[in-house]
Symmetry: C2
Subunit: 217 residues, 2 copies
């Protein structure tokens, strides 16, 4: 187990409905030393990539992104989430429709903060069905910028987001991939990432796990 | 001028209605080196205070708080904002009513992350009427914890929040205090903080600038 998997086993709490609570160290209270270790590990995994900007999404991605940014020596841009928007032409807006949550959200970035010269590392805390992440990718591409990679703290490997994004050819690095959880025993099963290159089973998206996203102009 | 005031003059944009846009370096795109300088300055201003936790509020406070936390070697807790809440007894909730914006917001922190042993530094990006900040102070006090200080990036000195909070006896340190702005010329007038101990004019809250907050149980 790596340092994040160890911490999840120590302080994470498994709840009914495949919910993993990590609010004591990652997304409500934040252990800054852990975030710093995560930043160093992202730097290692994306070594050689010409990253000049980190993009994340409010709220819990911001802390991880800002601490990681110190390892890359780049600025951070955070996308805003909103259910209603005024399209004023100065914003990139991705409309993200979640069939799981049965709602439409907008992911918004001011146009002036992304341009074709940008080589972007996207960072977020969780990846499940990947709806928000797909919105971020679209926004980077709308700007003519390059997605150099995607760094995630915890991926729910039993949902389809990670598979879809890897199939699209992106370098997606999740520091911990949870393949299964048991709320009764508290047991958490992590994917052995050393075997991932050889393929570790295809996951087909299930109904209710898909999201659709599109950019607005 | 200090480093933050210089940066505001260089990259801030004054808009009609006393709006100061600092989204290119502070609250949409974030200059991480600047945040690090701010963290070091907060450390200097709160030297000797037995701070063991930083409390901030989503979203734009989080980056500043996380980078500052590295200078204090403490964890960060961020409060969540919500217009609707389920009171489940495990949360501290401050109801913050803004007469300016004519709405009620809830500021929420899980009870398990604040306790009577905590000595808290509150950090946020902006202070104007201080409504959200008053909610955070209340939550710390509800937990029986101690507010050791309040660190703000930019205070709008012509609004009443800063005066009210200083009058309550808190050590409030704003790295830049804007006493006036001119949208036509772009001019920004900063308060000379070296004279603050001697008093620099009382500001009475005007109608529409007051907020009322209360904790819920």
């Amino acid at each position: 187990m790596n340092f994040l998997e160890e911490r999840i086993v120590k302080d994470g709490v498994v709840k009914e409905g495949n919910v993993l609570k990590v609010d004591s160290f990652l997304n409500h209270q934040m252990d800054i030393k852990l975030l710093d270790q995560m930043g160093a590990e992202f730097r290692r995994r994306f070594a050689g990539r010409p990253i000049n900007k980190i993009l994340t999404i409010e709220a819990s991605g911001i802390g991880i992104a800002c601490v990681a940014a110190q390892h890359f020596d780049v600025p951070v841009v955070f996308a805003k989430k909103s259910q209603s928007i005024n399209l004023d032409g100065e914003m990139y807006v991705a409309e993200v429709e979640s069939f799981t949550h049965k709602c439409v959200n907008h992911v918004i970035v001011a146009k002036k903060f992304l341009n074709p010269d940008d080589h972007v590392l996207i960072i977020d805390d969780f990846l499940a069905n990947g709806c928000a992440l797909q919105g971020l990718i679209q926004i980077v591409q709308s700007a003519g910028a390059t997605v150099e990679g995607i760094g995630i703290a915890i991926e729910k490997g039993f949902q389809s987001g990670g598979r879809i994004i890897r199939n699209l050819g992106f370098q997606l690095e999740s520091l911990a991939i949870v393949d299964g959880m048991n709320a009764e025993t508290g047991e958490i099963k992590f994917r052995d990432q050393s075997k991932m290159a050889a393929g570790s089973g295809c996951i087909e998206p299930k109904d209710g796990e898909i999201c659709r996203s599109s950019t607005l102009d």
